[in-house]
């Protein structure tokens, strides 16, 4: 029994059906961690991108060093650090929050590069035209650069969404009860791993296919007429 649900070991199919509600609970945690981690990655990544593009090296240099550091250290080390070291300094975060933040921070280093590339792909000719028309820098950014950068950014961000989803099982090392961790507990208790782990694989396949389709849909729906994407 787990989370109040009994399992039925009479046949593989019956077992699979009986643990579905249990896995569903793990799956909701996986989805929540994915969404929160992705939002953190999108927000923080934009902050890094802006800081890295700052005219002052006093600002851009530390931002570059920090993102490089984040990229070059394993997610699992960062998670251990957040979960086991921070409490020594009085900062205690719940397991779920630690995991989602860790994921978001790790991926913010990648998304910042996507933003940078997307913004830089809008050529100087566009900025010069905007300047000649006396647009303010802010208006140039929001009405000339961003609308042309978004269609370039969306596909890469979609790929990172799927990557984040697939990295969520790593959060089990800091005791987050996401879907893989739940399936493993079911296996531990029943000494039958094949069915729960296969189901995790199948559920993941469905989720990534749905997420990819969603991103593709968003990509076709986005207005990008005439924007040179290559």
């Amino acid at each position: 029994m787990l989370f109040g649900y009994e399992w039925d070991l009479s046949s593989p199919l019956a077992f699979a059906i009986s643990i579905l509600p249990i896995l569903w609970i793990g799956l909701t945690v996986t989805i929540q961690a994915t969404v929160l981690g992705f939002l953190v990655a999108l927000g923080l990544g934009l902050v890094w991108a802006v800081l890295k593009a700052a005219p002052s090296r006093l600002i851009s240099w530390p931002a570059k060093v920090i993102t490089e550091f984040i990229r070059d250290t394993p997610l699992i080390v960062q998670l251990f650090f957040l979960y086991y070291v921070l409490p020594e300094y009085g900062i205690v975060l719940p397991a779920f929050l630690t995991g989602a933040l860790g994921l978001g921070i790790q991926y913010s280093a990648y998304t910042s590069e996507v933003y940078r590339a997307g913004i830089e792909a809008v050529g100087p000719d566009q900025r010069e035209a905007a300047r000649a028309l006396n647009f303010t820098p802010a208006h140039t950014f929001t009405h000339v650069v961003v609308p042309q950068a978004i269609p370039r950014i969306v596909p890469s961000m979609g790929n990172y969404l799927v990557s984040i989803m697939k990295d969520v099982p790593v959060l089990s090392v800091v005791t987050v009860l996401e879907v893989l961790n739940v399936a493993k507990i079911v296996g531990d208790r029943t000494f039958s791993y094949l069915v729960p782990l296969t189901m995790v694989g199948a559920l993941y396949l469905i989720m990534t296919l749905v997420a990819s389709a969603g991103v593709r849909l968003l990509d076709t729906w986005l207005p990008k007429q005439g924007i040179p994407l290559k």
Binding site: E128, R131, L133, N134, Q148, G226, I227
Partner: protein, 258 residues
Amino acid sequence: MNDEPIIKFDKVIKRFGDLTVLRELDFTVKKGEKVSIIGPSGSGKSTVLRILMTLEGIDGGIVSVGGEPLWHEKGADGALVPASEAHLHKMRAQLGMVFQQFNLFPHMTVLRNITEAPVKVLGLSRKEARERGEELLELVGLADQAGKYPHQLSGGQQQRVGIARALAMRPSILLFDEPTSALDPELVGEVLNVIGKLAEEHDLTMLLVTHEMRFAREVSDRVCFFDQGRIREEGSPEELFTDPSEERTREFLQAILD
């Protein structure tokens, strides 16, 4: 016509790294005058326009537009200090530019390309800007293309949109930076027609960097031959094209007209 120059370059120096592009350039344009700038590539022709449009700064001298320094402003003690962005913003309102590569905004329709700046910068209502934009499209012969995107137009049509877009800001000075150099030969004529019409019917001050010698001759009040960052020779189109006094001008014209 006011004799006070609307544009004045006073010993202007411009460098790109080790390369000096303008060497103490003196150059004036009177209000309403149509001036063509010709010369070999690298002679600083386009740089003159880009300095006026505030796309490039200067390394020495004074540039004045409408009697006021462009790249300088009066500091607290009355001395000239480098211009602030606010000063440049104010000065830029007098100028408009047509780019060699058109530089239209690809994500906006033709009409939106023209109305965006009047609405956001001049504060016109959408309706006013739209009516004015449609008039301008009429002027450049593209009234039926308002809803299209730039990539759906030919190069010549795109450049005419570029001209309408610059005019929509009601500049008193219009700068043309090799407006037909990126066009297929058969599309050059339609753009030159529009520029010629503007030159004839409007009291705009026009500065035209071009390789179209025949057109420069027809449309301009004065032609300046640039060479190595200075004006080597200037005069009426008749003088300059039929009887240049400088050997260097003669060589250049011969090379380009052959």
